[in-house]
Amino acid sequence: MSDTELVLAADGTPLKKKLAQALFVSRARAFGLVAPLLLFILASFIVPILSLMVQGVKNDTYSSNMPASTAIMADWDGVSEPTEEMFAALVSDLVQARIDKTIGRVATRVNREEAGTRSMFTKSARKARKLEPPFKAAMLELDEDWASVAVWGAMKVSSQTYSPAFYAAAVDADYKADGEFERLDPEDRIYVYLFIKTLVVALAVTLATLALGYPVAWLLASLPVRQSNLLMILVLLPFWTSLLVRTTAWIAMLQSHGVLNNIFVWLGITTDETRFSLIYNMTGTIIAMTHILLPFMILPLYSVMKGIPPTYLRAAKSLGATNWTAFWRVHFPGTVPGIGAGALLVFILSIGYYITPALVGGQDGQLISNIIAYHMQKSLNWSLAAALGGILLVIVLAIYWVYDKVVGIDNMKMG
């Protein structure tokens, strides 16, 4: 039978159509079963995330409250002297914004682009109603900084509803009114360094969990059932304990008069004056994160090792391999999918880790998520937070993509 020939069912309808009809009910039922979860995820997760992601490129604080100057600045090239028309539009906007009580938000927005402009706006808006033309001279009398092209440039950038300004800020660059990007001075750069630091910490935590978790997973997979069940409970115990409790426990352990330092002093490894600072720095962040993420490494490794028949090792030994050779050439290659899955899981969880660095990281041990949280909660610069989060998401997706290309996501076993 050729591929193009239409196969008919016994009643003459095409077989494909008949099959689709037959499968429709079961498909509809399957969809009905997952629909509540789908709706819940959509409403509570996907929509909020998307709307927040949009804030990374969209900000209409200026454009919606200062329509006249927004319109006139769209034609301005960003470098030439501001004209009388631009001042006139600004004054009418300022008057309206003061009536609407939105001037504070507008001032904050422009201030993010050019520091020190906030008071210029609030002060000028208070007096704008009484100003007479020519507005340029009148404004300059209020504050001579109104002649500054930089201030107007900041206003132009703020007036763009959709702009790459926040993403530029998130990678330590300045988006200029003329559409150019400029890297910040080295002493002003923070975020790129923080991204790199976050990735390095994630890598360190991944390697540490692998080194600590591999032997445990091996034991779990090879011990007799009774012992391995007990060990499994010990591995899972942290899962059943609150993250906060575990992190605070580390504070008790690691602080300068904590358990660990007391033991070091008692053993003579250090003296009372030179206690190690193990917490409120990077060391504390790495130690606590390694402990908390360890099960995510052990479980995929264990599930993969459990699937490797012990006879492989015996076979290798019977063929003349030493214990080490048998492990390295025969057992270890079989565990690579588990290493991949565990490493991917721990790495991705690490780069988004927030609460532990916040509690034990001090100044030095803060990661990118802590800065995102800072912009969400303290500085209220949601657009910058969204841009930073967007970059983090892209990094995660890129790692995932690389993993898929190199190892293959199908080879991943989670347990």
């Binding site: 076979a315 030994k317 063929l319």
Partner: protein
């Protein structure tokens, strides 16, 4: 009894069994278990006082039900289990303290244990690599081993791309590629279907003859044991019940377990009434008096079990052991008819009637004469 291939008979002569059987000192044997005991938990002995000597070039099968200790013995020989007591000797040297990788024993595992991340060629090359053999020599040996198992074209494949039978051949080639004198096989054919299993039995047998290696084979399949082995050790409850050539094992079982375990067996229980030289007279529970060969039955008044092979019963009233039997069931099997009947109160008495021209046609419910020779009826332990 099943037909054995011709080469089997030839082989028994070649090895010179008389010499093997006359071995006395464990140090003279190629492989020897000397009073070996094994316990896993310190309470139960899985292997109880095992003594077994295997000559160079011999094919010995350990046969027994699961849990009889046969696999444990093989693992002790391979070095994966440690004997709790006693010595295991290889070429006259105790090997208890030699780790498995230094024993130089080839092994074929139950599920082949081919390394899935290596190709067939790499699997075979592995034992040569760990022996630090040069590349050209390795390639030559791998090629030869693959050709021996008729898998010459498969060096580049992965084990997962092979069928069960092909994997089995590769596992065999891998155990042989480093020229081991002794090869252990742990139920290597257990996962194959019947037809393939029988073909592999002959192939393993041929390779054994061709290379002159010593094979210790573990199986729970009695026909496999009978077909392939020079000698079979029947294990039960951690003890070798009988160690004998296959034909002796079938025709001259020494105890009730072996008689029941190997082949089909009719058992008739009774009490010894009189002993007359090599023969005994036994009063059976159903009232019949039978004459049997005294093998393992104790004295007058002791209980005994008579063992008669179904194919050794004839449908006539000749000889000293003759009685009436009631036909209960007939099963047609082509070359013979299996007939279940009641003999002297035992209603599970089987007679195989060969489907030859002019054989007696039985009918269910009919009463017929059955008889058997004294030498075919062995009085064993009850």
């Amino acid at each position: 009894m099943r037909q054995r291939p011709q080469h089997f008979v030839l082989h028994v002569n070649r090895v010179g069994l008389e010499k093997i059987l006359s071995l006395g000192n464990p140090k003279d044997a190629f492989v020897a278990f000397d009073h070996v005991q094994k316990s896993y938990d310190g309470e139960i002995l899985v292997v109880k006082d095992l003594n077994l000597q295997i000559a160079k070039g011999e094919f010995v099968t350990m046969l027994g039900p699961s849990g009889s200790g046969k696999t444990t013995c093989l693992m002790m020989l391979a070095g994966f289990e440690v004997a709790t007591h006693g010595d295991i000797l290889l070429g006259g040297q105790p090997i208890n303290n030699i780790p498995p990788h230094k024993r130089g024993i080839g092994m074929v595992f139950q599920n082949y244990a081919l390394f899935p991340h290596m190709t067939v060629g790499e699997n075979l090359s592995f034992p040569l690599e760990v022996r630090k053999m040069g590349k050209s020599e390795r390639e030559a040996k791998v090629k030869r081993a693959l050709e021996m198992v008729q898998m010459g074209d498969f060096a580049g494949r992965r084990p997962a791309q092979l069928s069960g039978g092909q994997q089995q051949r590769i596992a065999l080639a891998r155990a042989l590629v480093f020229d081991a004198d002794l090869v252990l096989m742990d139920e290597p054919l257990g996962a194959l279907d019947k037809q393939l299993r029988e073909r592999m039995q002959y192939e393993i047998k041929h390779i054994h003859e061709q290379l002159g290696i010593t094979v210790v084979y573990v199986t729970h399949d009695q026909s496999e044991a009978l077909t392939m082995s020079d000698r079979v050790a029947v294990f039960d409850d951690g003890v070798i019940q009988q160690l004998a050539k296959p034909d002796d094992l079938y025709e001259r079982p020494e105890n009730a377990f072996v008689a029941q375990f190997i082949g089909e067996n009719n058992k008739l229980e009774g009490v010894v009434r009189a002993v007359d030289g090599d023969n005994v007279v036994v009063d059976l529970e159903g009232g019949m008096t039978a004459h049997a060969l005294a093998v393992n039955c104790g004295g007058v008044g002791d209980r005994t079990m008579l063992s008669i092979r179904p194919e050794r019963v004839t449908l006539n009233a000749e000889g000293p052991n003759s009685t009436k039997a009631l036909v209960k069931e007939l099963i047609y099997l082509g070359d013979h008819i299996r007939c279940r009947m009641t003999v002297s109160g035992h209603d599970d008495f089987i007679v195989k009637v060969a489907n030859s021209s002019g054989h007696k046609h039985l009918v269910v419910g009919e009463e017929t004469d059955v008889s058997w020779q004294i030498e075919d009826c062995r009085a064993l332990d009850a």
